[in-house]
Symmetry: C2
Subunit: 407 residues, 2 copies
């Protein structure tokens, strides 16, 4: 089914009934936003997808508990950057709870109606005095304009804030999405390391919101890799407050639900691509498309392996059409395919036919690879399934960014 | 059971009854050895472990077929570097068979008694005229001294040749091992990308040689990672010609078999570590030890994830005691453990106790990390299983080596 989704500039306050506030709390370097609150005064349906890492930040554990205790309903999220509040033991749990409690007090809502998301250095405790002062300040300055400040406040090694809006129609009602994300390193499915919040004024049942979020994440954030490291703090959160006035979506067969999934997926895809483009040290954005796979799982495994290969990434950085590394990564991906019938293209240029290299124009390849958006396509000719993964090149700057992260 | 294994300088011609020859055939840059033959005039028992990559080089497919057709018996291996003979279609298969045939003709043995191993660029066909001339030359100059030349001939981006010898005692008979390996990039279990041949004069049944080789590889080459890329050409081969005169090992309960496994494992461990130390661009050798895991599988998964993490590797390069990245990698490794009771050490310095960071002397940490051999130890306190993985730091030189590999 084709659905109209209109992406447009926007922040988490683009949908009706959302406010946001941010503070320069001094958690990160002075002079940068590092704490934010996003708030729906109207009770909203909430859903979250969290890191699969066995080591989970205190904020992740608290948000999971609040989602469960609140039955998937709530009003706000408090974010901080600078410290991940992971591997911080009992003190970390107290601090995450303290953030939620202070935010709930400032907003005048229940503690369980607040989720917490932290990002930054693993293993050090939050400077709670600064955090609590920041919560007070961010709550006091909430506004529509605060949405874009919130997107700044969640940045760590990101070089640019990442936010987007979108509109769809549900049963004659305009439904709006707003979203922000951070992510630049420690990025790998599942999940891409990230902190992402999608707000919407759609009226939707909690179980459908959860289902839609999972589907959207699988096709987007779970297809981005920067460095193969799955973080302790990943979270993708969604708040839907129903202010659009559409009849509440309760049935997966409802055409309005298809529109909702399409809108949510487009928003997530946009941000997932932005994350790959802003990968630590990245100079090139890599899109890997696998077509003709037996199953979607095969296509996804294959595309992700290529996007995640250090050798592919360095070759892209070097503008070297070393397609042997791509077929090598396809081969170890775990995907089921016949290497002897694979075709492969870099942009429009065919480099492999039926499992073998073809003579190609090296100058044309070099010219194509000198661009900053590279598309590698593999056709398996074994079925109808396809998938796309996104990544970036591996550069000296990735090493520079990460060799002295704590210093 | 403790078994005496004496490692000593040596090459693949260290055991009785092995000869080797090498040639500068012009397959790689002029003036470098790039083709080698290792030969046992006496019929030997052979075993091989090959890449798990779905895309297998023609040499891998041919060697698998010859091992199968020959019932695990044969006399020699022909090696080339420069071209991997992978993704080369029917021509590649003909070329691999041509290498075996020419070698068999030069040695005066059956084609199926010869295995073939190629390494280098994927996707281009072998320059067969040069290869065949090289076979003739290498076969003509076989000698005991040729063992070390063979180790040079299999190098690609390796900066040093890698070979070793060892001695054990089996039922009062001295049994000798010799081995050579190449590997520097595209290194990841299973298998570590490599080409490795172990020769021995032990008398051993084919099925025990296969079993011993698998056990040795699991504890050694399968615990090395440089860059997470599993190649198309990995092979670990073993030839045992029985010239030591020991009663043939036929029973896994035989103490002589335990000595054999210990010797084979020590030889493989030595070479696996040498490969990690010679990782592309590496400046530091990283050993990751996991203790107290529930199962060996958990311990191996955990140790390998840390050794393979780009973020851990860049932190080691930067001499930054960012242990949060280590616990993060343990967490996404797939190993089952309780993050809240993990202890962690960098060298002698404890950095984590019961899942939380401990205050440590940053100057002492920096001093330790400024060394070129770094040991990270995690204790899970959940059982008795342990494992060790080896890797190296991720540096600008890795990128320099790989950005323009084909050029």
């Amino acid at each position: 089914m084709m659905v109209d989704v209109v992406l447009k500039e926007g922040s988490v306050t683009a949908p009706k009934g959302f406010l946001a506030g941010a503070a320069k709390a001094g958690i990160k370097k002075a002079g940068r936003y590092d704490l934010a609150i996003v708030y729906s005064p109207t009770l909203a349906v909430m859903a979250g997808i969290f890191t699969t890492n066995k080591v989970k930040a205190a904020s992740v554990l608290l948000s999971q508990a609040h989602l469960s205790a609140g039955g998937g309903q709530g009003r706000g999220v408090v974010f901080n950057s600078g410290y991940a509040n992971a591997c911080t033991g009992e003190q970390g749990k107290k601090d995450a709870a303290g953030m939620a409690k202070a935010t709930a007090a400032a907003l005048g809502c229940g503690e369980e109606e607040v989720l917490v998301a932290s990002t930054g250095l693993i293993g050090a405790c939050l400077p709670m005095e600064k955090v609590l002062a920041g919560v007070t300040e961010a709550a006091a300055n909430m506004s529509l304009a605060g949405g874009s400040l919130a997107a700044q406040a969640i940045m760590t090694t990101d070089t640019v804030p990442k936010e987007i809006g979108a509109e769809i129609e549900v049963a004659g009602h305009k439904v709006t999405f707003g979203a922000m994300a951070k992510g630049s390193g420690m990025i790998h499915p599942n999940m891409a390391t990230l902190m992402c919040l999608v707000t919407t004024d759609c009226a939707i049942a909690p179980e459908l919101l959860r289902e839609a979020l999972t589907m959207a994440a699988d096709a987007t954030f779970n297809m981005v890799t920067i460095d193969g490291d799955t973080s302790t703090n990943d979270c993708l959160l969604a708040l839907a407050n129903g202010m659009a006035g559409n009849p509440t979506l309760r049935d997966a067969g409802d055409p309005g639900y298809a529109a909702f999934v399409a809108g949510l997926t487009e928003v997530c895809r946009h941000l997932a691509q932005r994350i790959a483009k802003d990968g630590e040290g990245a100079t090139k954005f890599l899109t890997v498309r696998v077509e003709g796979a037996k199953t979607e799982r095969d296509a996804r495994l294959a595309a992700k392996a290529v996007a995640g290969s250090s050798l592919v990434k360095t070759a892209i950085y070097g503008e070297d059409a070393n397609w042997g590394r791509i077929i090598c990564a396809l081969g170890y991906s775990g995907a089921d395919f016949d290497p002897n019938i694979v075709d492969m293209y870099l942009g429009e240029l065919q480099v492999m036919r039926q499992g073998q290299g073809v003579a190609f124009d090296e100058a044309a390849a070099k010219a194509y690879l000198s661009g900053d958006e590279i598309v590698a396509l593999a056709r398996f000719h074994q079925g109808e399934a396809a998938a796309v993964a996104w990544g970036c090149d591996l550069t000296n700057d990735y090493i520079a960014v990460n060799a002295n992260y704590r210093s």
